[in-house]
């Protein structure tokens, strides 16, 4: 009991919200490309350059907000290259995505060495993070107030984006067209909707949020840049996107699952469990979810087959004659 109490309490909820935010941002970004029918494995790299350039921008200007803009601009550049190669040149999306991830990894480390002469991490150098937002009057709300106040702005942004995206997909023309292009390109074409344009827009929107996710990682979640600091969050986001099909609400649920496993595993560390095993937990959760959900789709196929067989038999009893005879006996 004591162990459970130590593990599960308000601070765990707070930790979950904190750890969920970065992956939620990047996964919501990926929802644009997923909905538009593009498999974007390059989220990881976009997030990484977002983090790096957010730090560079902050150090250069002294303003973390300008840093965020720099991070977004860098991620957008990668997103533009992705769209150019995949949409316009019809290159393989897996190949391009992987290459961009590798590029991001190499570029950030090279530039770090060139600019700061160090390897590993950047902190100090006048680097300031985004300020934490203290919501007014939350004292009165007790533990709930404690739970919803005191995060950096991009945490709020991540969670607010969920309903915004739901609204976007359901109520705006662009959101609708993105869905149509992904689900039934022929329909889009027939209505004169440019598939190319919509896919470019989705890729760039994706880059925008992935850059924001990176900036949050470097200026909100921590106040530093570390080599490969996205550490697979982009790939986990892709896993979430596969089984959520890009739906914002399901993405939120998936990300909360990861945030929770992340937060919980950090707690487990305090219980003396090896940090290596603990760090593996989120990846394992992603893998298990990926496999379990693809396995789950199996019974549905069986159900459909059974249903169609049932229909076949019922149709058979009353259609044998109609098909052959009714046509002929029509007046």
């Amino acid at each position: 009991m004591e162990v459970l109490e130590r593990l599960l309490n308000v601070t765990l909820v707070i930790a979950t919200i904190r750890t969920t935010a970065p992956i939620l941002l990047v996964a919501l970004g990926g929802s644009f490309t997923t909905k538009a029918g593009i498999f974007n494995i390059g989220l990881e790299g976009q997030m990484l350059v977002g983090a790096f350039f957010a730090v560079i921008g902050t150090i250069a200007t002294g303003s973390p907000w300008l840093g965020v803009l720099c991070g977004i601009a860098a991620a957008l550049t990668l997103a533009l290259i992705f769209a150019l190669l995949v949409v316009s040149f019809k290159a393989n999306e897996v190949v391009v995505g992987l290459a961009l991830n590798i590029l991001a990894g190499g570029l950030t480390v090279s530039l770090m060495k060139a600019i700061f002469g160090t390897r590993g991490s950047i902190f100090g150098h006048g680097l300031v993070g985004l300020p934490a937002l203290k919501l007014p009057n939350v004292k009165d709300l007790g533990w709930f107030g404690q739970m919803i106040s005191g995060y950096t702005p991009l945490v709020y942004a991540a969670f607010i984006l969920v309903p915004v995206l739901i609204l976007f997909y359901n109520r705006t023309r662009l959101g609708l067209y993105i869905r149509v292009v992904g689900e039934k390109p022929e329909a889009a074409e027939a209505l004169g909707i440019s598939i190319t344009r919509i896919r470019y827009v989705s890729s760039l929107l994706c880059g925008l949020l992935a850059g924001l996710a990176g900036a949050h990682l470097a200026l909100g979640y921590t106040t530093m840049f570390t080599e490969n600091m996205s550490s697979g969050r982009g790939f986990m986001a892709v896993a979430i996107l596969i089984f959520s099909n890009g739906d914002p609400l399901k993405i939120l649920l998936g990300c909360l699952l990861f945030g929770f496993s992340d937060a919980l595993s950090l707690r487990l560390q305090t219980l003396g469990i090896s940090s290596y095993l603990v760090l593996a937990v989120p990846y394992l959760v992603a893998l298990i979810a990926l496999f379990a959900l693809s396995y789950r789709s199996r019974p549905r196929v069986i159900q459909e087959t059974l249903a169609s067989m049932g229909r076949a038999l019922s149709v058979k009893s009353n259609t044998v004659k109609p098909a052959a005879a009714t046509d002929a006996s029509k007046p």
Binding site: L100, A114, A280
Partner: protein, 347 residues
Amino acid sequence: MSDRFDSFFGQALAILFALGLGALVILTVDESPMRVLVTLLNGAFGSPERIAGTLLQTTPILICGIAACISFRAGLFNIGIEGQLFMGGFWATWVGFSFNLPPALHLLLAMAAAVFAGMAWIAIPAFFRARYKTNEVVSTILANYVAILITSYLTINWFKRSGGQSETPPIFESAYLPELFSFSRLNWGLIIGLALALAVHFFFTRTSRGYAISEMGANPKFAEYGGIDIKKQTFLVLIASGAVGGMAGGVEALGVHHRFMEGFAPGFGFDGVIAALLANGNPIGTIFTALFFGALRSGSLLLEVDTTASREIITVIQALIILAVSAQITIRRKASDSTAGERRWKF
């Protein structure tokens, strides 16, 4: 004929373009591209020792590249070679230090352990890809992280050498992969890699099974119509790819390090994937692309010593080359081929 020439010409142009971009990147980090090039060449080929060093770096890239080729030819993406390499390396080492056996047998068993570890590590993603079309790109990438953490955990919590830093005890000499020259750690791994490249090339061009798998990668509907069991071949191809990935780890452990440690073989799996992509899935071509990347890696060691540029600059160049030729890489894979792109509507 002209088709081939065009594609060669296009490829060459694209690589030149990428190198030009690379030079620009180098300029932005305040270093002279020419000096970087000279240092790279000197580092890679400047002396017999350095050439051996280049070949030493080439070996794991080549074997990982072959592993990638096997999956690419079937239209599949095993991006988890890094993880298979770590697993293979660890379990080969474990056999190497846990048992004391006669020389040849010990080496053979340790290598077998590496191969089985690689196969075991891809088995679950392979099963789900074959049976339920679960996207193998994502599952194998995520498995990489787990493999690296688990092998580190095993090394530090269970098999740490007393007095040593995060590393296992050394393996017995009976499990060593013999070295080729006295002046370098270059070993039989290179010969294994070259033999594998030839064998895989032979497999895909000359055997019935290889033919069936290539056709499955090129046109699955045609293969299905011709009576090829897609699910079974998908599973077997991924397992074979994982086996070779594990073998790469075995070669590194038994031939180079003679132990397992944290950061055992950084990035070789990914370099292998890139080498195979650049060779468009051709094992013979992968020999040359792996050599190219091996030279870059080996040269970059001197680069960090002699210039202000970081050795990661070569990663940037590699990525730029792949991006530049990406439109010409014909390895088939549609997202619609997996659950990722299956735009199945649900409520």
